[in-house]
């Protein structure tokens, strides 16, 4: 049975290259950690080494 | 993810490095490959005042045979061990071992000396060095000294190195003819620490019986362990399957693993049994035996 679609028309039955890949392949993805917004703050979580204790100091 | 603050020096000579270790005492730590130390610092399981990087000191990385010994420089990277034709053909136990340490990327930075000096009970080289009867050469303010491998590992993350000493060389007596070795590591996936692992090195006599055997066990105690009862049992025996099976059973008794997410005590002990039997068989095959 001959396919009625081609790679250019509809594309069904044909392997299609993804449109978003060139960005990702060149390191131009915009993942959340890549974003830089004005006035942005960074959070790092400092965990207590003890399950139940009085906090006397927090060192970073 | 971010290490605590520390000072850092990259001295140009071993003498300067030792001087820094002396000056900063227990605040100083040696940075070799960093593939164990940096993860600890990033998780803040460790902190250091002064990091002394050996990376710019020449002459600490080499693989050569001399005077009946294989000499490996302490800063030799695992990938160099992996690529060494000399090691692959004459010390295949070492090739077996390096190939299962972490992954290829980590091996591009990790060093043999670091693996030994860090002395994580789950590190791979310690058991192998036990099986090879290696010696550790350390350099400190008082000069060089040689530490037999059986005296090197003192506890988890603790070795016989003084705080102001640097591991500069590993010396392995070249095994005689009719010798062979094998390292088998049980891990769930590439990059894991061993659930258990076994290093076996055997020497056969002219008749094909076992003249001597050394068996090192990884991840089954606070330090690497020699399966001495299994070793003694094997001496003078023929290489029959039931002999190897008994050696496996004796090696399992030498293991005192703790239960964790990788397995129960019973499971780990039994895996020592299985891996010992298999490692011995492979070592014997490599020694030219049956």
């Amino acid at each position: 049975m001959a396919l009625k679609t081609s790679a250019d028309v509809c594309g069904m039955g044909h392997s299609m290259k993804r449109k978003e890949d060139p960005r990702f392949l060149q390191g131009q993805g915009r993942y959340v950690d890549d974003l830089q917004l004005p006035g942005m703050l960074y959070m790092d979580i400092v965990r207590s080494p003890l399950a139940h204790a009085r906090i006397t100091a927090i060192n970073t | 993810m971010i290490p605590p603050r520390f000072d850092y020096e990259a001295p140009a000579t071993l003498e300067e490095a030792i001087g820094l270790l002396q000056r900063h005492g227990d605040q100083a730590k040696v940075l070799s490959g960093g593939q164990s130390l940096l993860p600890l610092l990033k998780l803040r399981l460790s902190s250091v005042g002064m990091l002394v990087d050996l990376g710019h000191i020449p002459g600490l990385s080499y693989i050569e045979e001399e005077g009946g010994f294989l000499r490996i420089g302490g800063a030799t990277r695992e990938c160099e061990l992996e690529r060494s034709e000399l090691i692959r053909t004459r010390y295949p136990l070492l090739t077996d071992t390096t190939l299962v340490i972490a992954d290829p990327l980590v091996r591009n930075r990790a060093t043999v000396g670091g693996n030994l000096a860090h002395a994580d009970p789950a590190n791979d080289h310690p058991a192998t060095m036990l099986a090879l009867g290696a010696e550790i050469v350390a350099r400190g303010p008082k000069g060089k000294r040689t530490i037999p491998i059986d005296q090197f590992f003192r506890g988890p993350f603790e070795t016989a190195l003084e705080p102001d000493e640097i591991l500069i060389e590993i010396r392995i007596p070249t095994p005689p003819a009719r010798s062979g070795g094998s390292y088998l590591k049980l891990e769930r996936k590439v990059g894991d620490y061993a659930t258990v692992a076994v290093a076996a090195q055997v020497m056969l006599d002219a008749g094909g019986s076992i003249q001597a055997a050394r068996i090192g066990l990884t991840s089954v105690a606070e330090t690497p362990v020699r399966a001495e009862k299994a070793e003694a049992f094997l001496r003078g025996k023929r290489t029959a399957a039931n002999i190897l099976a008994e050696a496996g059973r004796l090696a399992a008794e030498a293991a005192s693993p703790t239960a964790d997410w990788k397995g129960s005590v019973e499971y780990k002990r039994d895996m020592v049994r299985v891996l010992t039997t298999r490692a011995l068989a492979k070592a014997i095959e490599r020694a030219g035996g049956k």
Partner: protein
């Protein structure tokens, strides 16, 4: 000294910077140089999303200090393409659908690039072994292997017959 002046060549361009001793190389690349193609995917040196080439060897940049790279030469994913032309490795990943979310991809490509430099005709086993330090949660690795094989074949062809 808690800060150091370092000089690092990145994708052919020398950079001089004053950095804290504790600054990880991956943070230097991403935050100081704003080359965000190199990714952070874990806390434990497992995933390899941070893989870059240091003096030609693929390394996990999250487990290196920036100061350790002083005097060295680094290649990141941004350094693969030349004048807008994709490197055969990048082409391979595109053609063979070697990526889905794309997070592991820069690391995979840097490792593959180094592999092909050292071993231009790797077997499937050799490819799988070489990328065993790079984890992918999307693809199941099959198309990644195909992408590397595509690149190996492409790079084996004489330059004049390579694609437009």
């Amino acid at each position: 000294m808690a800060t150091h002046e370092i000089t690092v060549t990145v994708n052919g361009t020398p950079h001089r910077a004053e950095v804290e001793s504790r600054l990880l190389l991956v943070h230097f690349i991403r935050d100081e140089l704003r080359l965000t193609g190199t990714h952070i995917g874990c806390d434990t040196t497992h995933c390899g999303a941070c893989t870059v080439l240091l003096d030609g060897e693929p390394v996990k940049s999250c487990t290196l200090l920036a100061v350790q790279a002083d005097g060295g030469s680094i290649t990141t994913v941004e350094g693969l393409a030349r004048d807008g032309t994709l490197h055969p490795i990048q082409e391979g990943f595109w053609q063979e659908h070697g990526l889905q979310c794309g997070y592991c991809t820069p690391g995979m490509m840097m490792t593959s690039h180094a592999l092909l430099q050292r071993n231009p005709q790797p077997s499937e086993e050799e490819i799988r072994r070489a990328i065993s330090g790079n984890l992918c949660r999307c693809t199941g690795y099959v198309n990644i292997v195909k992408a590397v094989q595509y690149a190996a074949e492409k790079m084996a062809q004489p330059v004049t017959t390579q694609g437009l």
